[in-house]
């Protein structure tokens, strides 16, 4: 069996496919949600998956990780069919905001420590290296001072950071993040971008679902745009996808509050129209 790090034989000329979906079709609730998706992600790539709500981004990611079965097509993880894949310790996953809290209180450290389980034999206590990974992951998302607190007592953005730390704790070769920065403030988005940048430098592969790249934007060399369950675009980032509220009007050069164009109610060209009805 292959062990962590050795991977499959990789030569510089033919980079190894870490994730591959061919003709993937998924139905949910009797409705086709993915329709013939082809996607290959190779080692050391950072791929951003974009698309409107409901376009199938999360479904794609969950099918790639074997959480959903395909109606048609196939998925390979690190070269083996997903059904026979066993090296789960090589994968880190940040699901789209499931509440990190559940029925019974659990501390931040306990939740993050579940990220080490794939690398730990059952019935064996945590080794010092496990503890070190957990500590470092919590530090990377800036929650060290909350590590002993119950997850339920954290804010939504902080809980999201717990989920990120849980995935980082496994020190994965492939990190799959489904909208990891939803609800996370700019400072901590920047911290995450730094962590992701370091992982890329260390040769890890990253698949990122996002609406707003934020500080991660400069790292991204490839975007995949989903539309209605199909891949609508696959290639270098397009300017249009980088700035979501975009500008077509020649008069609109900026939407920053201090922009000179920002007109106040009552100025001659922007008078309110009676009854809210345009003339």
């Amino acid at each position: 069996m292959l062990t962590k790090g050795s991977g499959a034989v990789s030569t510089p000329s033919t980079p190894t496919a870490v994730l591959a979906m061919r003709g993937g079709c998924v139905e949910l609730g009797g409705r086709p949600v993915l329709r013939g998706v082809d996607l290959t992600v190779t080692e050391r790539e950072l791929v951003a998956i974009l698309g409107a709500n409901g376009s199938g981004k999360s479904t794609l990611v969950r099918a790639l990780l074997g959480l959903l079965t395909l109606q048609r097509g196939e998925v390979e993880l690190f070269g083996s069919p997903v059904g026979r894949f066993r090296q789960w310790r090589r994968i880190g996953y940040v699901p789209q905001r499931t509440s990190a809290g559940a029925g019974v209180p659990a501390s931040v450290r306990e939740v993050v420590a579940t990220g080490r389980l794939a690398a730990r034999p059952p019935l064996r206590p945590m080794r010092s290296s496990d503890r070190e990974h957990v500590r470092a992951a919590i530090e990377a998302v800036g929650l060290t001072d909350r590590a002993r607190d119950s997850v339920a007592s954290l804010s939504g953005g902080q809980q999201q950071r717990v989920l990120i730390a849980r995935a980082l704790a496994g020190d994965p070769d492939l990190l799959v993040l489904d909208e990891p920065t939803a609800g996370v403030d700019l400072t901590h988005q920047e911290a995450l971008a730094e962590v992701v940048g370091r992982l890329v430098d260390r040769g890890r592969t990253i698949v990122l679902v996002a609406h707003d790249m934020g500080p991660l934007e400069p790292l991204i060399a490839r975007t995949v745009v989903m539309r209605d369950g199909r891949v609508a675009y696959d290639g270098p980032p397009l300017p249009a996808f980088q700035h979501t509220p975009h500008h077509h009007h020649p008069h609109d050069d900026s939407r920053r509050p201090d922009s000179p164009h920002r007109v106040e109610l009552g100025t001659p060209i922007d008078r309110p129209i009676e009854g809210g009805r345009p003339r």
Binding site: A52, N53, R62, L65, G66, L67, W88, R89, I91, Y93, P95, T98, A100, A102, G103, V104, P105, A106, S107, E110, A113, T114, G115, L117, A118, R120, P122, L123, R148, D149, S150, S153, S155, R166, G170, H211, D212, T244, P245, H246, H248, H249, H251, D252, R255, R256, P257, H261, R262, V263, L265, I269, D270, R271, P272, I273, G275, G276, R277, P278
Partner: protein, 331 residues
Amino acid sequence: MNLLAYDFVQRALLAAFVTGLAAPAVGTYLVQRRQALMGDGIGHVAVTGVAVGLFTGSSPTIAAVVVAVLAAVLIEIVRDRGAASGDVALALLFYGGIAGGVLITGLAGQNVATLNTYLFGSITTVAVGDLWVTSALAVVVVACAVGLAPRLFAVTQDPEFARVAGLRVRAYGLLVAVLAAVTVTVAMRTVGLLLVSALMVVPVATAQQLTRTFRDTLLVAMVLGTAASVGGVLVSTTVDVAPGATIVLLALAGFALAFPVGAWARRQRRRAEPFQPVADPFDLADPHTVEEHDHLHGPECGHPAVLHDDHVDYIHDGHRHAPHGAHYDEH
């Protein structure tokens, strides 16, 4: 008087001790999975098992274990399928279980008093053979619940993540169900089948008032469960009532004491939190996404409209919103 010198009291106390450890240990995972009433359901079905044991003249304990495990596996399969009618299917199973039990007991020529000792516990009827079976099962339950805690915690806390971590989520789910079934039969002679669920859930609810980690909750619940269970049996030796009632009332008293303490601690903690700054709602640099619009702006929508060069802007939530084809711009 020295009741403790009686063999049957010693047996009852030992049975109470192992029950008090095992029930909250499994109960913690049931609460985590939001299945607090699962123990109750298995208890109902186990009544049929007891009755079958009485009817065939074999051990009611063994028969109850078999029937309870079958029921728990069935419940887990229904749950795993996520079928919409699952809830009703379970209700049918539970009521069928208890009605069938009463019927078969009647057919067996046993009176209701015999069945009552299984429904609400009885300290005078714990036979030596029963005690060994019960204790052995309880040791297995506690060993699994504590020894596999990290994995069971991960699987119950976030099953999807656990699957991507390579854990066999379905197998662990079945294990929790089987452990619950075994616990129900372990607890049958002390708290009884109709109140066993209380001993699985109430100590966990009490522990939660005081703890912040899963591990602490598990351990504190086991301590509280043992205290309630042993204490309840002691009380029931002096006043002549079924131990099920005294055990559960003691556990509830513990909750009544812990709840105000927990509420006070939570308030203190909230006070210690630093004040969270609120983002300026009028800061146009804030990301503004399509989901925030629950309607298409138009003449009738009630938002102030502003003529702006060649188009109309609508003002809402501190910004000027310009519909443009299928999307919008901000000005």
